[in-house]
Symmetry: C2
Subunit: 152 residues, 2 copies
Amino acid sequence: MTPSANLLIASDHAGLPLKEALRKRAPELGITFTDLGPASLASVDYPDYANLLCEKLIASKPGPTTLGILICGSGIGVSIAANRHPEIRAVLAESEEVAKLGREHNHANVLCLGARIVNEELALKIVKSFLAARPDPDQRHLRRIEKLSHRK
Amino acid sequence: MTPSANLLIASDHAGLPLKEALRKRAPELGITFTDLGPASLASVDYPDYANLLCEKLIASKPGPTTLGILICGSGIGVSIAANRHPEIRAVLAESEEVAKLGREHNHANVLCLGARIVNEELALKIVKSFLAARPDPDQRHLRRIEKLSHRK
């Protein structure tokens, strides 16, 4: 990512505290965030915000916003919802290594985090790892990614 | 799961060693596995085996085989591929906690593991956690799961 990169970010109510923490620390990450909500702790449904972010991300291509971060309590719900979209490759990461591999091998364009699973410091490390990794253009990865691009 | 439960299992070449290890330890888990391949370490594409397992799982419902395990190098590729299917809710787990939450809150029917991320002992613990958890029938979970059931 270039230092001026802008990422989309969204959550559910359970993910909101970690989303706020990451937004405050955006300068450390060298990025800016466009926050798609929610803005309060009132209970919402994770598929609604995951779909909102994915649709914006798909509509923005090609453009400066090509990556997104989704956060719910465990990260699982948003990762399932995001991967319903054939244009999205979402990685649920509990570690820096998985975030890195998701970007390198699977060309992930969405990172999913669990606010009840990773604390703020680990989440920051995972986001940094995701942003620092580069998609590996090897043909075997591209062939497998192409097979992920079809509706089921 | 009942002690006689049968799970579908599949992998890619990178996931094959962990798949073999889990198959050998099926008695400890109190289950049996139906292995959908591959049977050799020759390079294959993870979407092919993920799709094969998901299609079998969807076709088997309602029936005794209602859960599956998918393994690739990181677990990411198979989790993206599996979640392309609106009937599948796949959880990529690096920890027992995430596997448990995936089953309880998201009613996950597929567990994804990374053979290069979790060792055999941790994988066994994660599978046990997945099998021991019970889907929470709370209305808020059911409402969110219903929202995951539509093609995008």
